[in-house]
Amino acid sequence: MLPAEFDYAAPASLDEALALLAGGTNIRILAGGQSLLPTLKLRLDRPDLVVDLRKVPELSYIREEDGEIAIGALTTYADLVASDLIDSGVARCLAEAAASVGDLQVRNLGTIGGSLSHADPAADIPAAALALDASLVARSEEGDRTISAGDFFHGLWATALKPSELLREIRFRMPANGGGAYEKLRQAASGFALVGAAAVAEMDGGTIEAMRVALTGVSSGPFRLHALEDRLVGETLSEELVREACDKAGEAIESPLSDAHASAEYRVAMAGVTARRAILRAAGQWR
């Protein structure tokens, strides 16, 4: 199918883009187009205006600032995969999540900001953002508003962003003793996660100082496994410990998803497997 008619604008600056967003309600931002265009073509969405962000110059970057990584919303998956900075420490869960998205064409166009704003329940990046405890910087004409990843996702395709806001930047801490990993079972057609688990560990020798684990693909949105994390923090890392802790990880899933691609039972069982593998790799980097 073809999209319904819409107006199109390609602002050359962030301010211009924000002014456009402030001027209406039924407006969609175009970043990589990898979710927006399919949605428009299926006529699941009929915006009046599409604001193309790709001519806004100041939105694509990966920077290190005061022990934090800052990533511009228009940074593509391919940029993330190619970055040495992202392929290290806790950020590695983001690098692995980005590398696992769809296929090369999608990774060349799709953006980190687009993935987070779209909030598909089976998207990879949101799990990594939760595990990284990232801060998401929204911007409107009123200025910046920082939302923690934990407050950002509101279920199926819903986020904390207001219509007048766009997502400008993603930031997270890069502790020196941290490791990250992302594990995923793919839905064979799209590449989306049947089950995805992101883990970030901070280690003090063999002791787990901090642990954050998030799941995606298994229910209406990504979420942290707080009980599992609590069970691990302060303990000495061992395979038995993690195995035992993860065996029941799937029980934390509220209304597990069941569809043509996988049953709820399988997703629940695989949540434990992927979580364990991600945790062991994330923490193992610091053993």
Binding site: M1, A188, A260, H261, Y266, V273
Partner: protein, 522 residues
């Protein structure tokens, strides 16, 4: 053929303008045709050594909502090919086709043969499991032997030629089957899950004698050697990606001694090429190429007449090698094709009873089908926790008779094997309870991606067919036919320590995971 194609033509006529019709993916999924969708129940009788005594099959074909071009022909082909490569003394089949409210089924690469091959090749593995024999050995014991060809099957087909033992033996040697079985034992001892799948197949190609096709099974070809030296071939097979522009040009270059660049293959425009049936049923080369070959025979014979006349020699003494037509035993006495073309078109000094020009049209009527065959092996590793299968190796020995262009043959096999693997592992048209197609886009319908597939190791044996002058059998569907049972056999082999005897297609990770947990058949 789809209704829209007729509509576009009709609209074009009505409007007097070109009309283009494009279907999007979802339309393609919903409103064209689907493949396969057969349910088969099999009973097999074997002797103590695993030799087939008889088979009884109850076959249920979902026809979908409408009768399309070949809808009921597909399961009929399945029935015909059920005996596979084996001596099968008796066969009873009950075939029922049912109309449902689903998208119609119709010919899809392999059209009936993949279904037959899947069934008989699963049967072979079941026999092996039941009698605790090696699956390769069970096949060997049941093969029709090389010296039994031409062989009549239980379904009264006449297999033209074959050497199934050699293909399988080469396969097992190349793949180091014994070594793989040893590796499997070691890995199993370490708790790893590894499977080796073997399948052998025979299929029916070069379709076919006119008696078997409602619109005729012949093929037509005109060859015109123009006065400029260009050779124009007008073929009715109408290639659309199969590569006959290349293979036919190679044959012409070879037989007439002209550079391949001088050959033009014309097809598709019925103003220009009025007669033909088409390329399907792996018949392009075996039937269309045979018509070309006959036309080239006529042109060579006529060229020899001109050469004999120019050299004042007997026609029977003329040898045609490369572009030279010379007298046997007298190497310096020859004319070239160019001289012959000159004489044929100047026509001032024609041989007795010979017309000017150098062109011929022939129709080839195949006396039988051709029956290519082969043996495939693959190795699969399965993640014991998630059920995810990884195809680690894929080795194939295929025999499609004489090969004109090895790269094109390999290309057909690559695509075919990918397609067959995909049927085994990924592809499925899923409907919900209300009959709504759930897999209506490529985000839900899983096509194989290059990264899901191993590099194939392709090998050949060559057993020419006596059915056509080229000795070529056809290879357009072979990969699709051999690969599906090969992959499922490997998965079931991998899961056999869990007591699993069968897994239904597509063998997605969850199905494999369930089979490992329950040990039962799915």
């Amino acid at each position: 053929m789809y209704a829209e194609e007729f509509l576009a033509a009709h609209l074009s006529r009505t409007l007097g303008r070109p009309v283009k019709w494009t279907a999007d993916r979802t339309e393609g999924f919903l409103a064209t045709t689907h493949g396969r969708d057969q349910l088969n129940e099999v009973e097999v009788g074997v002797d103590g050594e695993g030799r087939l005594l008889g088979m009884r099959v109850r076959m249920l074909q979902d026809l979908g909502a409408y009768h399309q071009l070949l809808t009921p022909v597909v399961p009929t082909l399945t029935v015909l090919m059920l005996p596979g490569c084996y001596r099968l003394p008796s066969l009873e089949v009950h075939l029922s086709g049912v109309f449902t409210n689903k998208t119609p089924t119709d010919a899809y690469r392999g059209a009936g043969r993949p279904e037959a091959t899947f069934l008989i090749e699963r049967v072979m593995d079941h026999i092996a499991a039941e009698l605790d024999l090696d699956p390769a050995e069970v096949r060997r014991r049941n093969f029709i032997a090389a010296d039994e060809f031409p062989a009549i099957t239980a379904t009264e087909l006449l297999y033209d030629s074959g050497d199934y033992h050699t293909a399988l033996d080469r396969l097992l040697e190349i793949a180091d089957y014994a070594g793989l079985r040893r590796e499997q034992e070691e890995r199993r001892a370490r708790g790893e899950v590894m499977g080796i799948g073997v399948s052998t197949y025979v299929e029916i190609c070069g379709i076919g004698p006119s008696a078997a096709l409602p619109a005729g099974g012949w093929e037509a070809c005109t060859v015109e050697v123009r006065r400029t030296g260009a050779v124009v071939v007008k073929t009715g097979v109408s290639p659309h990606g199969q590569g006959q522009e290349t293979t036919f040009a190679q044959i012409v270059a070879d037989r007439l001694g002209v550079p391949i660049e001088a050959v033009e293959i014309a097809h598709g425009d019925t103003d220009y090429v009025p007669e033909g049936i088409g390329t399907f049923g792996s018949r392009g080369l075996a039937v269309g190429g045979a018509a070309l070959s006959l036309a080239l025979d006529t042109i060579r014979a006529k060229a020899k007449k001109f050469a004999a006349h120019l050299l004042e020699a007997h026609e029977e003494d003329i040898e045609y090698e490369g572009d030279r037509l010379g007298i046997k035993g007298a190497p310096d006495r020859f004319v070239t094709l160019e001289d012959v073309i000159g004489a044929a078109y100047l026509a001032t000094d024609l041989p007795e009873g010979v017309e000017p020009g150098l062109a011929a049209t022939h129709f080839f009527e195949p006396p039988n089908f051709t029956f290519p065959f082969g043996a495939h092996l693959c190795v699969v590793d399965i993640d014991p926790e998630t059920g995810e299968p990884t195809l680690r190796r894929y080795v194939a020995v295929d025999d499609c008779g004489n090969v004109i262009n090895p790269m094109i043959v390999d290309g057909q096999l690559h695509g075919g094997i990918a397609q067959g693997i995909a049927q085994a592992l990924f592809e499925e048209a899923v409907y919900d309870r209300n009959g709504q197609l759930v897999t209506g886009t490529l985000m839900d319908y899983a096509l194989p991606k290059a990264s899901y597939l191993p590099s194939y190791e392709l090998h050949r044996t060559t057993t020419p067919t006596p059915v056509n002058p080229l000795g070529a059998k056809g290879v357009g569907e072979a990969g699709t036919i051999g690969s599906t049972p090969c992959v499922i056999n490997a998965i079931v082999d991998a899961l056999s320590p869990y007591g699993v005897r069968h897994v239904e297609m597509p063998a997605r990770p969850e199905k494999i995971w369930r089979a490992m947990r329950s040990g039962a058949t799915e």
